[in-house]
């Protein structure tokens, strides 16, 4: 059979599935990262020594093979690269999706999609803005409502005794919960791991499990500090 259309010469990585694979791969890296981050945050419950030791240990990890903070910087560079790919792929696909329906429906029902799936794009923007705020707050201390503090523990505890700061973080964690609930399942589907009914069910279960576990673990320290259980 003769083909009347030559396939376009777009490189495979810029095909819609190639971009989705970039999103899925970088997204799964973030899933492992938030799992580790949420676990680390729980050290606050162990008191000042446990948390300060944890923060110090992150910087001496890999010494003397790596310089002080070496591991942390390698990790940060990998995350920044993954974020750049994730955002690039998301914006490109968003643009293509808008172009793919230039005339909108007068009436359109969302019959099967979950709220989480429909809020991926704006939820993602909210998360990006939050990450910038979060870095300015607890990494660079550019935004310092807690004042100048001597230790990582003091920085955290004197931040989250402010209700409005807890509120900002709580909203971000809810946005993260939505993003994980759809994102983990979607990544599994994009990687082609859900070609059977059982695999699909397992991927959805894992998405809901991690999507509930991580936000809960993230919310425990700020709420414990706000309500005076940790001080």
């Amino acid at each position: 059979m003769a083909t009347s259309t030559l396939p376009a010469s777009t490189p495979a990585v810029r095909s819609s599935i190639g971009l989705k694979l970039l999103m899925a791969g970088s997204g799964l890296l973030f899933v492992f990262y938030v799992l580790a981050h949420a676990y680390g945050n729980l050290m606050v419950l162990g008191g000042p020594d446990a948390f300060n030791n944890y923060a110090h240990h992150l910087r001496t990890l890999g010494e003397p093979m790596l310089p002080y903070s070496g591991f942390l910087w390698v990790f940060r560079l990998v995350l920044i690269a993954a974020l750049a790919l994730h955002v690039y792929a998301a914006l490109t696909l968003w643009g293509r999706a808008n172009g793919a329906r230039s005339t909108k429906y007068a009436v359109k029902k969302a019959a099967a999609s979950s709220l989480a799936s429909r809020t991926m794009r704006f939820g993602g923007i909210a998360l990006l803005l939050f990450v910038i705020f979060h870095l300015l707050h607890l990494t660079t201390h550019t935004i310092r409502p807690q004042g100048e503090q001597p230790t990582p523990y003091a920085n955290v505890v004197n931040s989250f005794d402010k209700w409005w700061l807890v509120l900002i973080y709580a909203v971000a964690v809810i946005a993260l919960a939505f993003h994980l609930h759809h994102g983990i399942w979607s990544a599994a589907q994009t990687l082609g791991w859900t070609s059977t009914t059982a695999a699909r069910r397992n991927a959805k279960f894992l998405a809901h499990f991690i999507g509930s576990l991580v936000p809960t673990a993230f919310l425990i320290p700020p709420l414990c500090i706000l309500f005076g259980i940790v001080d």
Partner: protein, 247 residues
């Protein structure tokens, strides 16, 4: 039944369209949706007005020719094609909005008729197998395990109506493509061209202006044949393996 219809009217591909309201009294609940539109058109003809253009062919739910966005649902509120939808699925006095499939890859030709040849070009790119014709091989010459045959048959139910594209927030054609890739990929006859099939179909899909999949599931819900979302997983896996030389 007495109905109020808001129908998209558009004189041609480049003309500006708009929703026009029609009062349609005396409709039997046993009529199909397309018979109801036939009644409207007979009345418009009698009044000397231009009838509403819409696509249909077999009216048995198997050809994939008909397809309308009915009050925001592709093929209406039931899981079937527009031709197999009956007016008893609606309430007396209801206002029904009828629009064509909306996708840049499916341009409107007139009123509710869209050009779906983009799907044909995707099929031409890879939705086929190459086989010698002439003497027909014995049916049992190539054995197919039951599970593979069942899954191939499930995917082969796709009639190419385009409801998946119409319902998708990204106007993506991935459910259609996934159905074709799964249908041929489950069978021995589909193996020789499997890697080039998926690459060529995806490249054509993107070039035609369809959007990407966000795994939302509106397509599968709208599909009159109930093609499940896992064919898109199959499509993604085939594409990934084809591009890494493992297919």
């Amino acid at each position: 039944m007495n109905l109020t219809l808001k129908i998209w009217r558009q004189d041609g591909p480049t003309a500006r369209g708009e929703l026009v309201t029609y009062q349609v009294p005396d409709i039997s609940p046993d009529m199909s949706f397309l018979e109801m539109l036939d009644v409207l058109n007979e009345r418009l003809n009698a009044e000397g007005k231009e009838p509403v253009a819409f696509d249909s062919d077999c009216r048995e739910g198997i050809c994939g020719m008909c397809g309308l966005m009915i009050s925001g649902d592709a093929h209406g509120p039931e899981k079937t094609t527009t031709c197999q939808l009956h007016m008893r699925s609606f309430k007396d006095g209801e206002t029904i909005t009828i629009e064509p499939w909306r996708a840049t890859a499916f341009p409107v030709l007139r009123d509710l008729v869209v050009d779906r040849t983009a799907f044909d070009r995707i099929i031409q790119a890879g939705g086929f197998i190459s086989a010698n014709t002439g003497a027909a091989p014995k049916a049992e010459a190539i054995l197919v395990p039951k599970e593979n045959a069942d899954r191939a048959f499930m995917a082969a139910e796709c009639i190419g109506c385009g409801a998946c594209v119409a319902a998708c927030p990204n106007a993506s054609g991935m459910l259609f493509m996934g159905a074709k890739v799964t249908h041929l990929g489950e069978l021995p006859q589909g193996q020789p061209e499997r890697a080039q099939r998926v690459a060529a179909m995806v490249a054509t899909h993107d070039a035609e202006g369809f959007g990407g999949c966000t795994n939302i599931g509106e397509c599968s819900h709208a599909c009159p044949k109930g093609i499940p979302l896992d064919v898109i997983s199959q499509l993604n896996a085939d594409m990934r393996k084809a591009k890494s030389g493992r297919l």
